[in-house]
């Protein structure tokens, strides 16, 4: 994970929120913006810095979306995904 911190300064501008990923897009978690219980729970679910995440697909009506991380598939709505900052991987 050492390379994450080295690169983070250079790519800070490229950071996006998780909900902005296109379907099939990948990224690495940079931080969870929400504080309090919601942020804590998102971290406990595995959204911690350095974790690779893939947006697998969106629900038929556009929301929520399935994210693949840490060997699990988790659905989040845009409202929660917006709290998670990621660095997209090309």
């Amino acid at each position: 994970m050492a390379f994450d911190s080295n690169e983070s300064a250079a790519t800070a501008e490229a950071e996006i929120s998780l909900d902005a990923l296109p379907v099939g897009g990948r990224g690495v978690v940079v931080e969870v913006g929400a504080g309090g219980p919601i942020g804590g729970r998102l971290r406990d679910l595995g959204f911690v810095p350095g974790t690779p995440v893939t947006l697998e697909r969106r629900a038929p009506m556009g929301d929520p979306a399935v994210y693949v991380l840490r060997g699990t598939r988790l659905c989040l709505r845009r409202s929660e995904a917006r709290e998670i900052r990621i660095r997209p991987l090309g």
């Binding site: 994970m1 929400a34 219980p37 919601i38 804590g40 729970r41 998102l42 971290r43 406990d44 679910l45 595995g46 911690v48 810095p49 350095g50 974790t51 697909r57 629900a59 038929p60 009506m61 556009g62 929301d63 929520p64 399935v66 991380l69 840490r70 060997g71 699990t72 598939r73 988790l74 659905c75 989040l76 709505r77 409202s79 929660e80």
Partner: protein
């Protein structure tokens, strides 16, 4: 019901040795295979109860290893030991020994799915930080190996400082080794080095542990990926959702109906038998119409509850329910609820009692409360006989357009009115009564699995026994009270009364009859007379009872629907000579039944599922107010239009 539990051999036995056997707490995330493991260890002899103040199920049982016994507490599945709701706090409270009458567990059995160890280790780290003697059970190792991965359990044990035991719970593999470990639990040691506290550092710790013990699987779960290509497909997935939910609903309705009729007939036969055996009089009446009919009014719910929960847990344990919630979540989000509330509301079309119980699958307490509160507005099957007789009697048979009959359209309108008002009320409640999120929305899509029959059976049994113990007693008591109201005080029926009028006269003189007269001024603005008042009182037992009560008042044979229909059509007010059931009154009564929470069983189960008297009281009063207002307006408007 309480006697049955106490008398079972396991129960009495368990209580005696409970004091000496070490207590182990089973903890892990949802979908970790924890409950399957619990069932495999305790052999379905679990005692099911509730934690004080919340509606979280408390399940415990014993595992026997040779001569040794350990007591095992199956704690609710959770992704984190930092609670964000009262329900979740149960786990941390139990672990801290803060639940009255329950000591803190002597040791922890942490359960994790080997396939998602990456995520589970974050939870394991939290559990280890409790500094308790513990062991880790890795489930579904067979799946991981089938995917070309593996975990070196010995190395993992060294890294964590606690024993690690791989099992395949539903096939019983590894259970002997686990039992042996559990028997040694008094000798377990607490981990000597604790993982770091912050989530970031924990993630780093998890990464370094994983690197040394796991060979990554070479492929994903092929079966699940293949199924999800269809189930989560935008078009096919939506179609499948409609098909599954329609089938689900149809099964609850059609399969349960004959069973319920059979129970009804059985109860009737039993009551008849009691009357034959006992001398006519109070004792025979009490036993036949009070007790036997009262017990019948509880048991009648069982087919629907057992069927609903069998289907529900089958869908849940197979992995489909999470997909269904994913597909429909957007719709439910519009009214401030979430995907998992959909099934509870759908079930309420059959009956609000199992519907409200199905709301247990909604994890957020606020969402669950709102789901429970709006469930009674979904048009349940008990309203159907009421709608049917009123529509048949007062809505003319005529075709409106496109071959649609007017009677059918009225029925459809009533269903739509119930559904739309449930959704509207949900939105209002989420805004004003239970606002805010409190919990983030998240939903795990577990791999598809064939649900172990034992697991489904134990969950269904848990739901049915909870219903009988907690709600059944209230329903029984309420049915008997209503029976007393409808039959006492007994009056001398004048000798010149025609025999077919005797029952009607007795009913008018009963407490319920007097209550009907007493509330007449209150319900007169809705176009209701005292007879409908009595019917409304009686319908508290179950909505369709109003039909039987009206039949009794009009002294027609209950089974003979046509004669009741005619009696209703011809009844005139003795003072004014006007029809009692004019169009305005009928419309008003139908609207009243759309909204009013006329059902003690629903109130009883609501009381149980919210662990409070406040919410059933709130629901009863507010829905009564809505019903009154809507009926009043309907009566006035229709009256103005038709005269």
């Amino acid at each position: 019901m309480a006697e049955a539990t106490a008398a079972s051999p396991g129960g009495a036995d368990a209580l005696e040795s409970g004091a000496t056997a070490p207590l182990l707490g089973l903890i892990g995330s949802p979908n970790s295979g924890k409950t399957t493991l619990f069932n495999a260890l305790t052999g379905l002899r679990a005692r099911v109860g509730n934690y004080p103040g919340v509606t979280v199920e408390r399940r415990e049982g014993f595992a026997t290893v040779g001569d040794a016994r350990v007591r095992i507490l199956d704690l609710p599945g959770t992704y984190s030991l930092t609670p964000i709701s009262a329900d979740e706090a149960v786990v941390s409270d139990v672990l801290a020994g803060e639940i009255e009458g329950l000591d803190a567990p002597d040791g922890l059995v942490i359960v994790a799915d080997a396939n998602s160890l990456d995520r589970s280790l974050l939870f394991v780290a939290q559990a280890l930080r409790l500094g308790r003697p513990a062991c880790l059970v890795l489930t579904m190792m067979d799946e991981l190996r089938a995917r070309g991965g593996d975990i070196d359990c010995e190395r993992l044990a060294n890294a964590l400082g606690i024993p690690v035991i791989p099992v395949v719970g539903h096939r019983g593999l590894g259970l002997d080794a686990l039992r042996k470990r559990l028997a040694e639990s008094p000798d377990w040691e607490a981990p000597s080095i604790l993982p770091p506290e912050s989530a970031e550092e924990r993630a780093g710790w998890a990464r370094s542990v994983l690197e040394s013990v796991r060979s990554e699987p070479s492929e994903g779960n092929r079966r699940t990926e293949a199924i999800d290509r269809i189930v989560l497909h935008p078009l096919l997935g939506s179609l499948l959702f409609v098909v599954v939910m329609t089938t689900f609903f149809q099964l609850i309705f059609t399969v349960a109906a004959p069973l319920m009729d059979a129970i009804d007939a059985g109860v009737g036969a039993l009551a008849g038998f009691a009357r034959e055996v006992l001398p006519a009089g109070f004792a025979a009446d009490l036993l036949a119409d009070g007790v036997i009919a009262g017990v019948g009014s509880v048991v009648i719910f069982l087919p629907q509850i057992v069927l609903l929960f069998t289907l529900l847990y089958f869908l849940e344990d197979s992995g489909y329910m999470a997909r269904a919630a994913f597909v429909i979540d957007r719709v439910m989000a519009r009214v401030g609820l979430e995907g998992r509330a959909f099934v509870a509301l759908l079930s309420s079309y059959a009956c609000a009692v199992p519907g409200i119980m199905a709301a247990r699958t909604v994890p957020s307490p606020r969402h669950r409360l709102v789901t429970i509160l709006v469930a009674p507005l979904m048009t349940c099957s008990a309203r159907l006989p009421v709608y049917a007789i009123l529509i048949a009697a007062f809505v003319p048979v005529q075709t409106v357009a496109l071959g649609l009959g007017l009677q059918g359209l009225v029925l459809l309108t009533l269903y739509l009115a119930g559904t739309l008002s449930a959704l509207l009320l949900a939105a209002l409640l989420r805004r004003f009564v239970a606002p805010g999120e409190g919990m983030p929305f998240y939903l795990e899509l577990p791999p598809y699995r064939v649900p172990p029959i034992k697991l489904v059976a134990s969950q269904v049994w848990g739901a049915a026994s909870a219903f009988l113990k907690r709600a059944g007693t209230i329903i029984l008591a309420a049915s008997i009270i209503l029976w007393v109201l409808l039959n006492f005080p007994k009056t001398e029926v004048p000798a010149d009364t025609p025999p077919e009028r005797a029952a009607a006269v007795a009913l008018e003189q009963s407490a319920a009859g007097r209550l009907g007269h007493a509330v007449e001024p209150l319900i007169a603005p809705l176009g209701f007379d005292w007879k409908i008042g009595v019917g409304l009182v009686a319908s508290l037992a179950a909505r369709e009872v109003i039909v039987a009560t009206l039949a009794q008042i009009y002294a027609t044979a209950e089974e003979d629907e046509i004669s009741l229909r005619e009696a209703l059509q011809q009844d005139r007010d003795p003072r004014t000579g006007e029809l009692v059931f004019d169009l305005a009154t009928v419309a008003s009564l139908l609207v009243f039944f759309v909204f009013a929470l006329q059902c003690v069983s629903t109130l009883a189960v609501m009381r149980r599922e919210t662990a409070s008297l406040r919410w059933p009281a709130f629901s009863f009063v507010s829905l009564l107010a809505i019903a009154y207002g809507a009926s009043f307006v309907t009566y006035r408007v229709v009256h103005a239009l038709t005269t």
